[in-house]
């Protein structure tokens, strides 16, 4: 359709394409019991035309993928428990449970430590804690930040929706839908301008498709050949509307492909698929091949967000959402997706690949639980903020005057 485009563009059927055989063994097809359609089965899929990068990972690296998924999951479950049971807990969260494989698979392909002028940068969304953990943010300090503590990652100024840690290239969360995408292309622009092989990645939901920023980011990334990767987590809903309310595309990736940007649809529940697509995109970006787009089909288990004082099944908690009037998530849909849990899929794959055995997996999980419990315990003991500090950090130096007293 567009003869300026030399790229082979991912057709929407790609996620259903036959897998290549993996060196780690041919996996049995686990039939789906749920109502999930047009998703791949529960197996470590290599698309016919994505090189199967994950097969070359060491056992340690594969276990790390699994560990990251678990950290995100246990951080969420622990925080949800705090909200439901601890009257002193104040943090809120936009839960990521169900989507963990996306952040974990993508960030495992990035440079997450080293000097600031060499690490890759990640721009996150209003749903950042999974991305933050995967990018390597210090979890205890993140827990403290989410509970508004003075020693939190951002001194209690940020809370969940503005988490930021440039030291690990986590430029940060952004509560607005849209603006982060053009901003992320700006970091990519800087990398290209100064001849660096760094890569800029933005995570966004299906809700970002309709924003005007979608066009700006993709169009400029393509024209200027920027080392930019747009990871669109299509969890089917933007707040209270199904994505078909805002997009004429079945696969949003096809909108990106129209710009001539190599675009893939992957099963976001399968960390190996995500890893493979991300690795391909990162390799392309580093070598000057320009932008890529990855649409991960995924699902969140909980409501749009949760807050302290929540009661299960009520607004802001973990059941149906009474504000969801126009369109809401059917019970069967939630259950069907839960049957394809990213933790289970990763565990099973690793066991089948022999990277881990069942006991080993349990040990990792026990480790992670302990680490997360310790993080929350540390956070709960951190000092609260000093009121007057609110006048700091407006500019690099100095404080602004108090004005609230007249």
């Amino acid at each position: 359709m567009d003869n300026t485009t030399g790229f082979s563009v991912e057709p929407p059927e790609a996620a259903d394409a036959p897998s290549s055989e993996s060196r780690r063994g041919f996996l049995k097809f686990a039939a789906l019991t749920g109502a999930v359609v047009s998703m791949t089965a529960n197996r470590a899929l290599a698309d016919g035309d994505i090189a199967f990068h994950a097969q070359d990972l060491s056992d340690e690296q594969l276990v790390d993928l699994f560990r990251t998924i678990l950290k995100i999951r246990w951080h969420e479950r622990t925080q949800a428990d705090e909200m439901l049971s601890n009257p002193d807990y104040r943090g809120y969260n936009h839960f990521y449970a169900g989507q963990e494989a996306v952040a974990s698979g993508v960030c495992a392909t990035l440079r997450n430590s080293g000097p600031f002028d060499q690490i890759d940068v990640v721009y996150s969304s209003h749903r950042p804690s999974g991305h933050a953990i995967a990018k390597g943010v210090d979890i205890p300090r993140m827990c403290a930040e989410n509970d508004f503590r003075a020693t939190g990652l951002n001194g209690g100024y940020a809370a969940e929706m503005h988490l930021s840690d440039p030291d690990v290239g986590f430029i940060g969360a952004d509560g607005m839908i849209g603006p982060s995408m053009p901003i992320a292309t700006g970091s990519a622009f800087a990398f290209r301008a100064r001849g660096s092989d760094q890569v800029s990645v933005v995570f966004g939901g299906d809700g970002t498709y309709a924003t005007p920023h979608f066009h700006s980011a993709l169009n400029n990334a393509k024209i200027l050949d920027l080392p930019f990767i747009y990871v669109l987590e299509n969890n089917l809903y933007h707040q209270y509307a199904h994505y078909t309310y805002s997009s004429p595309h079945k696969d949003i990736a096809s909108a990106a492909a129209a710009y001539g940007i190599p675009s893939r649809v992957v099963d976001g529940q399968d960390v190996i698929q995500v890893y493979n697509a991300a690795k391909e995109a990162v390799d392309r970006a580093r070598s000057g091949g320009g932008p890529s787009f990855i649409e991960a089909k995924t699902y969140r288990y909980y409501n749009h967000w949760g807050a302290p004082g929540a009661k299960a099944g009520e607004l802001g908690a973990f059941g149906y959402d009474p504000l969801a009037i126009t369109s809401f998530r059917p019970d069967r849909e939630v259950r069907a997706w839960m049957q394809r849990d990213p933790v289970d899929i990763a565990r099973r794959t690793l066991i089948e690949w022999g990277a881990l055995d069942a006991a080993g997996a349990e040990a990792v999980e026990a480790d992670v639980k302990a680490e997360i419990a310790a993080a929350f315990a540390w956070a709960a003991e951190q000092p609260l903020c000093t009121p007057e500090d609110g006048l700091e950090h407006v500019f690099t130096q100095g404080t602004v005057p108090a004005r609230q007293f007249g």
């Binding site: 100024y157 809370a159 607005m176 504000l323 009121p387 609110g390 407006v394």
Partner: protein, 322 residues
């Protein structure tokens, strides 16, 4: 008369206008046009008027606002609810097109459009983008758009009727901090002027001027001060554009003391305009200005609550002035 919230009152006005003008449309994004109150029917514009006239869209507030503008130019009264996260997304089109179009066309353009723009603010825990109260000043600098900020359910309903019937574009600011406010509001349609401030309390020692989400704490402070024996006059601006200079000047000509209170950032908050208008018209008065500092609101409740103007701080400032 029934006890109604700000939002119920507004939707009641919208519902009446939509029933009486089949051309009228409503666009929304994440906030469904639904409200309820004891003793009155639930209002649900989407189910009542159907999806051709009432549409749930994607996350593109600039399109929502532009769509309503275009509908109004084609003769359809239109309204939209822009959630606070997107409050400035449509700024350019309102400022640069809607605000100028009537004048630029020599009076030919008619724009019966109302943008309900939510302002957050006053919510500890949500940093910056999710608890700022600042849109009042940005929108009030625009000529050609009536910018109002009703602080009571009664005003909200009457000003909504007036807005929807006006061929002038209206920015109708909704301070989300007022969402729990409830008062008796008539069930019938009525209009409240888009040009007048309201004197909420009379007195001769001191004038306090505020608006929108600033009002509840101002009224609380004023009651305390009155109990202490101070003659406080409280003015609720209600209308930021065109600001009602006469009411302000008349009051301060009497009291000779002016305290302005804003939840907006200090620099160029509505109170700055109030003081400037009064100072050029009244000699020898004394002035104080309470506002949120020129800093984004931090997430931490300790910091945020200290920075936000409240009744105690307002009363303190008033005592310092009189």
């Amino acid at each position: 008369m029934t006890q109604k919230s700000w939002m119920y009152s507004v939707l009641e006005a919208v519902q009446w206008e939509m029933q009486n003008d089949p051309k009228m449309i409503w666009i929304f994004e994440l906030t469904p046009p639904v409200a309820s109150t004891p003793g009155r029917p639930v209002i649900n514009l989407e189910t009542e008027f159907g999806r051709k006239r009432v549409v749930n869209t994607g996350i593109d507030e600039n399109w929502m606002a532009s769509c309503c503008l275009g509908a109004s130019l084609a003769g359809s009264p239109s309204a939209t609810y822009i959630p606070y996260q997107g409050a400035l997304m449509p700024f350019q089109v309102i400022q640069n097109v809607a605000g100028k179009l009537r004048h630029m066309t020599g009076g030919r353009a008619s724009m019966p459009v109302t943008w309900i723009i939510e302002m957050t603010g006053q919510t500890p825990g949500f940093a910056g983008q999710h608890s700022c109260y600042e849109e009042d000043s940005y929108y009030a600098h625009i000529p050609g758009v009536r910018t109002v900020v009703p602080s009571t359910p009664f005003d909200a309903k009457g000003m909504m009727h007036a807005s929807l019937r006006s061929p002038d574009p209206v920015v109708f600011l909704y301070p989300a901090g007022l969402r729990t406010l409830v008062e008796d509001v008539p069930d019938e349609p009525y209009e409240v002027s888009l040009e007048k401030a309201a004197v909420r309390m009379e007195g001769s020692d001191l004038t306090i001027v505020s608006s929108g989400a600033g009002m509840p704490e101002v009224v609380k402070a004023a009651e305390t001060l009155r109990d202490e024996g101070m003659g406080v006059e409280v003015v609720d601006l209600r209308v930021l554009k065109e600001m009602d200079t006469d009411t302000l000047v008349n009051s301060v000509a009497k009291t000779k003391r002016l305290l302005t209170v804003d939840q907006s950032y200090f620099t160029l908050c509505p109170g700055a305009e109030v003081i400037a208008r009064v100072a050029t018209n009244v000699d020898g008065a004394k002035y104080k200005r309470v506002a949120f500092p020129d800093a984004p609101p931090p997430a931490s409740p300790e910091m945020f609550l200290w920075m936000r103007p409240d009744a105690d701080k307002i009363a303190g400032a008033a005592r310092g002035l009189v």
